[in-house]
Amino acid sequence: MTLHAWRHRDHPAYWASIVHRVTGLLLALFLPVHFLALGTALSGDASLDGFLAWTERPWVKASEVALVALLAAHLTGGLRLLLIEFVGWRRESQAMLLAAAGGATVCCALAFALNLF
């Protein structure tokens, strides 16, 4: 963490950058597991069904909701960055962009949770 970054830690955009990095890091750690899980289909349908049965545990379902929230948060945070860098949405739009990103993340996680449970 640079001194420059610490000086701006009271700014919402600083926390948005932290959230973007943390969600990206967690998704990168999860992806190999996700790919290996899908790869169980190589051993046949029964193998994939066995894995899917394991995912019926409540804590696994709760983790899936958290993962959807991570993905949605990283998506909306990334869209916010693209809008700032390529469309030129600047300071006056920061609060609106951050609120929209947070709102869209919660909506995605809730929609997934309502269908999952």
Binding site: R21, A28, P32, G39, A72, L82
Partner: protein, 105 residues
Amino acid sequence: MLWIAQRATAALLALCVVVHLATMIVAVRGGLTATEILGRTRGSVGWATFYGLFVLAVAIHAPIGLRTVAGEWLQWRGRAADACCVAVGVLLLALGWRAVAAVTL
């Protein structure tokens, strides 16, 4: 170059993730089974192309992001850090395309 690759893959991933999120939200309704998942994806050139591109974009995007985080948070830069990030990209590409093959072929 890496900056452009990060943004270009981000734009592609934005589209892919929206489709993936929408698919997941709809698909989990009523529970998931191998028959239901593979019935949708197996033999589908469209899904194979979509997920193949999705994995390729992830395998480029994620290592560049990890390289940035490693530099900022761990002060880990240089050839070893770059090589490690390339290895992560190759691993994601190999595992990802294996998974795509598993559910589409």
